[in-house]
């Protein structure tokens, strides 16, 4: 008996009138996960491209994998460094996995639970968009964020950031960033400062003990500050490789660029937004360097904090970014520019990427509106000339 037969056999239970009809959307999600449905076109284009949203989303997840893997290793590496542990590669990775898997599980269980429920209420199919959101979210928070906070933030983001607007495709803020903003403003002590970025440090400071410290105390001269707070504390090579404290997935420039290469080649994310964002960051960093006396060189903004991660994976979210091609240049440029402006001129926030992207998400429809109006006016002029 093959898998298909089993699915066909239990299917009626989940259909209208069946005992478990209230789980219809859930069943459907799992069925379509395993089998591309047998639906055929009715009219219009009789043949269709074999790319679907599942494929687009899985490519997005694939692009995040390098950052995820490096982040997992770096959690262990930072912890081992902080407590002076002489760990081998597998111990480092093991600690990283123990720390990151709960984050992933919490975001997926809470987020997908809400997605399934709202799909059932609406009678829709479950949208795959959350597979990406749920994978990004653990990568943009400090490793020691309490799981219940993450759960609350995830629920807030999925419900208020997405489902109230109608689900994936209808939301206008990036849901993962809504979750992060929620955490940032609700629990600032867990989201910023010098003690949250390395696993176990905060707990050690509070209780005098932490998981897997081997009985060691923090090593002398341990700072735990990210490069944004302490620009001179890390070498450029460290920042490019990513062996620095920070949110889980944001540290390694190399891993993020690998992801960017996948996204750009497959066309899943817009290279225009990425390039424009980097250009915006560079320009403001350069201009700011002339005004602000202790500013880092402008290019260094690109490799610090979440700038690159945000530019590559979050500003490019096709739903919340600008939709028009010209609009993408403007949107991306402003994301990069605003992020660096916040970094340079607002002492309250060391990192500006989250706020920059959320702000530009809000303005993306306005940018598109202006671009379209201009284009239509140009067309009308051209048509008048031809006529």
């Amino acid at each position: 008996m093959n898998l298909r037969n089993i699915v066909d056999k239990i299917k009626p239970t989940f259909e209208e009138g069946g005992k478990l009809a209230w789980l219809h959307s859930t069943f459907d999600a799992f069925e379509t996960f395993m089998f591309v449905p047998n639906t055929v076109t009715r009219k219009g284009s009789h043949i269709r491209d074999c790319v679907d949203i599942k494929r687009v989303m899985i490519i997005m997840v694939l692009a995040l994998v390098p950052a995820f893997l490096f982040g997992t290793w770096n959690i262990g590496y930072q912890h081992a460094n902080a407590f002076g542990l002489d760990w081998n590669f597998w111990q480092i990775c093991g600690y990283g996995l123990v720390k990151i898997l709960p984050l992933v599980l919490v975001t997926y269980i809470v987020g997908l639970g809400i997605e399934f429920a709202s799909a059932q209420i609406r009678g829709h199919e479950v949208n795959e968009g959350y597979l990406v959101t749920g994978f990004i979210l653990p990568l943009i928070v400090p490793v020691d964020v309490p799981l219940w906070m993450l759960a609350v933030a995830t629920a807030f983001a999925v419900i208020i950031g997405k489902e109230v607007f109608g689900g994936t495709g209808m939301n206008f803020w990036n849901p993962a960033l809504i979750a992060r903003a929620f955490l940032f403003f609700s629990y600032p002590s867990r989201m910023s400062g010098d003690s949250v970025w390395v696993g176990g440090v905060q707990r050690f400071n509070d209780c005098g003990t932490a998981f897997a410290t081997g009985g060691n105390a923090l090593v002398d001269g341990f700072s735990g500050a990210t490069p944004l707070a302490n620009p001179s504390g890390y070498s450029v090579v460290d920042m490019i490789i990513g062996t620095i404290p920070g949110s889980v997935g944001e540290t390694s420039v190399i891993a993020i660029l690998l992801g960017a290469a996948i996204l750009i080649f497959t066309g899943v994310a817009s290279w225009k937004i990425m390039v424009a964002s980097v250009a915006g960051g560079l320009l403001i960093g350069w201009l700011g360097g002339m005004v602000v006396t202790d500013a880092v060189p402008c290019w260094q903004h690109l490799i610090m904090g979440g700038f690159l991660f945000g530019s590559v994976f979050m500003a490019t979210d096709p739903v919340t970014a600008a939709q028009t091609e010209c609009g993408k240049w403007i949107y991306g440029f402003l994301v990069g520019a605003l992020a660096v402006i916040v970094r340079l001129f607002n002492p309250g926030y060391a990192e500006g990427m989250m706020l920059a992207i959320l702000l530009m998400n809000t303005f993306a429809p306005l940018i598109d509106h202006c671009v379209i109006e201009c284009s239509i006016k140009r067309q009308a002029k051209k048509a008048a000339r031809l006529a």
């Binding site: 395993m34 449905p37 076109t41 790319v51 494929r55 199919e125 066309g267």
Partner: protein
Amino acid sequence: MSNKIQLKHGLDIPISGMADKVTKKVMIPGTVVIKPSDFRGLKARLLVKEGDTVLAGSPVLAAKENPDILFTSPVSGVVTEVVRGEKRKLLEVRVKADSQSKSVDFGAQKVETLDAEAVKALLMKSGLWACLIQRPYGVVADPQTAPKGIFVSAFATAPLAADVEFALKGQEHAIQAAVTALGKIAPVHMSFNAKVKSAFERIQGINAHYFEGPHPAGNVGVQIHHISPIQKGQTAWTVTMHELAAIGKLLLTGKVDLSRKVAVCGPMAIEPCYIEAVPGIRMDELKAFYGTTGEQVRFVSGDCLSGENVTISGATGFHANQITLLKEGNEYEAFGWANPFRFKLFSSSHTYFHWLLKWLCPEKKYDLDTNLHGGERAFVVSDVYGKVLPMNLFPVYLVKACLAGEIEKMEKFGIYEVLEEDFALCEYVCPSKIDIQSIISSGIDLMIKEMA
């Protein structure tokens, strides 16, 4: 080639089953079907009853709003059946064809001496007026309007489309006569493929334009957009090459002869080739092409992107010169979306490796079926549509305006310039599997209703 227009956006889908350039057999149709639904917005009045005998060119239907516009039988025979649907809506008029077709004689014309009104009157009474399609909206042309031009695409880029040069070989005379006659009504614009030398470039009295690029460069709507975009209040007429030939034959011989070379093609077609046929032939008379039962076959009158799904008991449309036979893809595919390759299917997206395959063996064709390959979702990806639409439009915005039924926005985003077929590729590539053509269609219907 002074006025060459290069189009970058578009997509040529490598589907298998291209028709060989031979005419295997002449179709002597048993029954020919005349369908009012082939003409958008037509409210038809029936002029015949069951048992009447008709000749090729005898009126069968008339337009209620303009009774001068007649729709005539393409063959001679006996009206066997008038098929009606719900609320007695007229669906089909079936004519059993005689073995030898006899025609009404409209009299051969001296084309040079005709004036616009005479041309219009002749076309309306012979039934060939229905060949003229009016944009915006794609309705049968209104003889009272003054179009800014009559546009003809002299090449086809749609998947497996009938080759104009082959199908109309030797009909230059007829087409010349038709162009001369239609030229009395409005200037005739003819668009050619810049890469192929056409036998029809020699035709006198046309404004020639040259286009280069992938499908939909051969769509007349795309061409009009680049030659002279349709503004609010303007109209343009279009006509296909094979219907120009029919108009020409009417002018030269006085007889209605709608026979044309029809490409029978597609992955399910056995030995795909051309047949000589009139419009309205029934699919079940094509047994030689689909085998015995016709199960698991999708019968499409037209091309696989924007043709009509007519089923085995249906008939080809009035304008069609192509029949595409596709495989019904009503099968499950385990973990299809996660399969890295899926080489039996085709994707233009780089999320698969078909680009590599295209590079390695450029001639590879795919047996594409009718599976949707996914579930319907909201619009997520924004930049795939513009890549296959060589028009300065914002496709997603227009589609959303149509969904919302907002007339002003539809106007703004270019509803006057488009027909469903122009969006066929957008629908093909859409990863959210949205029925874009249906949405555009309902938008156009709404415009017709509201702007009337």
